[in-house]
């Protein structure tokens, strides 16, 4: 009864605009075009801008990653694209259909695997697929063979007639992903496909996603796991606090931070002298303190590390740990937003089960 009410803004639903935006040349390179999309939730006297003026395109056939911390607005964005929520303003086109004007058309060409499972765990794997197949109009004459094919693909053929509640988390996830694929959708939306899975199950899910992409399906996935985005995605969009921060292929994203390696040194106490000496050294890009760690970005990390250690010894400051690594996607994210991906501060914005992200 206390569902938040979305703002009734109708900007961007101008009919003339919507029609012209979505009529598209066949074989165009983009399959989704998002234009100044905004979603504001209003609950009592609190307003939350979950998606804030986002504009980008997804290309046909790619695996597109939406990467951001919990509560960044990824799920809300997906829910608007999958016609579950109306945008407050702005438009988006999925293939040649407008998400506001032709939601039914869109539902026919997409497959969705939401963050929270929508499997009926009291039914068998086969029955779940059969039920869903009928909802998405898979022809009865091919439905049975299609189900068996999908179960084979998910390596669940031997469990076809077991209830889903006996399945592990990984098996359920794989079943749900192939279920979304039952009608060969043009676009597959996967919202946090590997959340809560163990490493082995995650690898299996990744393989499966890659396999589905080989069948010329465009895949859009959201995740807050760096490695997932790095492994799977052609292009990655960074999202934080509802805004699009960066969008590019992995290699280009990594160039957003000054080239070099990252050296992290743990300490109990710090001497200002050390900092100034290190800052003065050649090859050093930046030096900063995060809690009890000193983070140094350097052009040739392994070469400068002995010198840094020497500085510490000279000031007789003990080090508790040393690590050196090449920058990861996470470092890019920290560089762009100033915070870590799974920072705890956004926890309260996690979407409620079956409801709406607050």
């Amino acid at each position: 009864m206390s569902q938040p009410v979305a703002e009734g803004g109708k900007t961007g639903t101008d009919p003339a605009e919507a029609v012209t935006v979505c009529t598209v040349v066949p074989n165009a390179s983009s399959i989704i075009r998002i234009d100044h999309l905004t979603k504001i939730f209003r609950e009592r006297n609190r307003t939350v801008t979950a998606v804030d003026d986002v504009t980008f395109e997804v290309w046909r056939g790619e695996i597109f990653g939406l990467l951001g911390p919990n509560g960044a607005g990824k799920s809300t964005l997906i829910r608007m694209l999958t016609t579950l929520l109306h945008p407050t303003s702005g438009t988006a086109c999925v293939d040649s259909y407008d998400i506001i004007r032709a939601p039914e058309k869109i539902r026919g060409i997409i497959g969705v695997c939401p963050q929270n499972s929508t499997l009926d765990i009291e039914l068998t794997a086969y029955d779940n697929l059969e039920f869903y197949g009928k909802l998405v109009n898979v022809d009865d004459s091919i439905l049975d063979s299609r189900i068996l094919e999908l179960l084979e693909m998910a390596e669940l053929a031997d469990r076809a007639h077991m209830k889903v509640q006996t399945f592990s988390g990984g098996m359920r996830r794989k079943l749900e992903i192939v279920r979304a694929f039952i009608h060969h959708p043009l676009i597959l939306f996967l919202d946090e496909p590997t959340i809560g899975l163990d490493p082995e199950a995650r690898h299996e899910v990744w393989q499966q996603i890659a396999k589905l992409n080989e069948e010329k399906t465009t895949i859009i996935l959201t995740t807050h796991y760096m490695d997932e985005a790095e492994k799977l995605c052609n292009r990655i969009a960074f999202v934080d606090k509802g805004r699009l921060i960066a969008l590019d292929i992995l290699e280009n994203l990594k160039q957003l931070i000054p080239a070099g390696d990252l050296i992290e040194i743990g300490f109990d106490r710090m001497d200002e002298g050390i900092l100034s000496v290190i800052r003065g050294m050649a090859l050093i890009n930046s030096v900063e303190i995060k809690g009890t760690r000193l983070i140094i970005s350097a052009k040739n990390g392994s070469k400068v590390l002995p010198e840094i250690v020497a500085v510490f010894e000279k000031f007789s400051v003990p080090m508790t740990s040393i690590s050196i690594r090449s920058p990861s996607l996470e470092d890019v994210f920290i560089h762009l937003t100033g915070k870590k991906l799974d920072d705890g501060q956004n926890q309260d914005a996690k979407p409620a089960r079956g409801g709406i992200p607050r």
Partner: protein, 362 residues
């Protein structure tokens, strides 16, 4: 130990207070029990429609008839409206027809003169558990006050109907209602909570199809419950089914009632997101609809404001139709109105169900 107990107490209480809707419903329930139970059962029966008719010959009204009819029409009840509404018939046959159609509850046939060998014949609708006795005592009282010592013969036109038979028919409706409310409705909300509905929403399946599917499965479940109670009624309460037509007619009424009640439940269950809120509303609805259905106690005994609820209560029409068929052996000609009312109700609820089902998550 104390700390843990206090922590749990605080958490539970916080949750209780955080849902004002449930708090209000919790307080409303006993109040509603008081008001509805009290009025549905404690109400004084008044305005019972009865027919009076003068035996022929003679073809003109005798003084006994005129004064008795007038007296019956003006039986005062302290603080309440009069007991009987008398309609004067000139033709005994016509009066009995109206009785059979349920338009009046009793027919009183007066003999030509005051005498010991001319009986006052009383025909009562014995499918009602309470009214026959009231009418009989009213007739005896009026005769006594007029100094007429004629004997009174009572004819129960539907034979002896025990209260359990009267009540048993009402329980068929209750079974339909409870199985839908607590079975179907909760299942719907659980499916919603489990995200299964979110799964429907991203498929091209139409809103109408979703509602039609949910209602038809719920209808079949409710039908099984109603039919089972019907069979139990036959076995335990001793009601008799005269013919195959009667049996089929009963099934038809149960089916239509099931569609109506299921549509009602689906139309509002689809708006609830939490089981707790739904459950408190259901308990409330179950109370008000069952109590005003006439299953326990004749609707005629209820105060006017409660009778207004009866008019929009599908259970009332269901109970009335089932009693008509099972206890009074009436056919479609009499219970047709009940069926039409049930169908209108079902149709309205079906449309409401479609209109209120959210196609998005908002």
């Amino acid at each position: 130990m104390i700390r843990g107990a206090v922590a749990i107490f605080k958490r539970d209480f916080k949750k209780f207070l955080s849902n004002p809707f449930v708090v209000i419903m919790t307080l409303m329930m006993p109040i509603m029990y008081l008001v509805i139970f009290g009025n549905a059962f404690g109400g004084t029966i008044s305005h019972v429609p009865v027919g009076v008719v003068q035996e022929v010959p003679p073809y003109n009204d005798t003084p006994l008839f005129t004064s008795a009819a007038a007296a019956l029409n003006h039986i005062p009840q302290k603080d309440y409206p009069k007991l009987l509404d008398v309609t004067v018939y000139t033709d005994e046959k016509k009066a009995k027809q109206d009785l059979a159609r349920g338009l009046i509850s009793a027919v009183i046939v007066f003999p030509s003169e005051i005498s010991n060998d001319h009986a006052v014949r009383l025909y009562v609708d014995s499918s009602n558990s309470i009214i026959p006795a009231l009418v009989e005592s009213a007739v005896r009282g009026v005769l006594a006050s007029l100094g007429a010592h004629n004997p009174v013969t009572v004819n129960k036109i539907y034979g002896d109907i025990k209260y359990i038979q009267f009540f048993g028919v009402g329980v068929i409706m209750m079974a339909i209602f409870t199985s839908t409310m607590f079975g179907g409705g909760i299942a719907l909300i659980r499916d919603r909570e489990a995200g299964i509905h979110e799964g429907y929403l991203v498929t091209p399946v139409k809103r109408t199809s979703i509602i039609a599917g949910i209602i038809s499965s719920g209808t079949v479940r409710a039908f099984i419950a109603g039919f089972t109670i019907f069979l139990i009624d036959i076995l335990i309460t001793g009601i008799t089914i005269q013919s195959v037509e009667v049996f089929l007619l009963v099934l038809l009424v149960i089916l239509i009632a099931c569609i109506g009640v299921t549509s009602l439940v689906v139309s509002f269950a689809s708006r609830f997101s939490a089981q707790q809120e739904y459950a408190s509303v259901v308990a409330f609805l179950n109370l008000i609809l069952f109590m005003t259905s006439g299953a326990f106690y004749p609707v005629i005994g209820m105060p006017d404001w409660l009778r207004w609820i009866t008019i929009i209560n599908p259970e009332y029409y269901g109970v009335d139709a089932l009693r008509g068929i099972i206890l009074r052996g009436q056919g479609l000609d009499v219970i047709g109105m009940d069926l039409i009312a049930l169908l209108i109700f079902s149709g309205a609820m079906f449309i409401l169900g479609i209109a209120t089902y959210r196609r998005t998550l908002e």
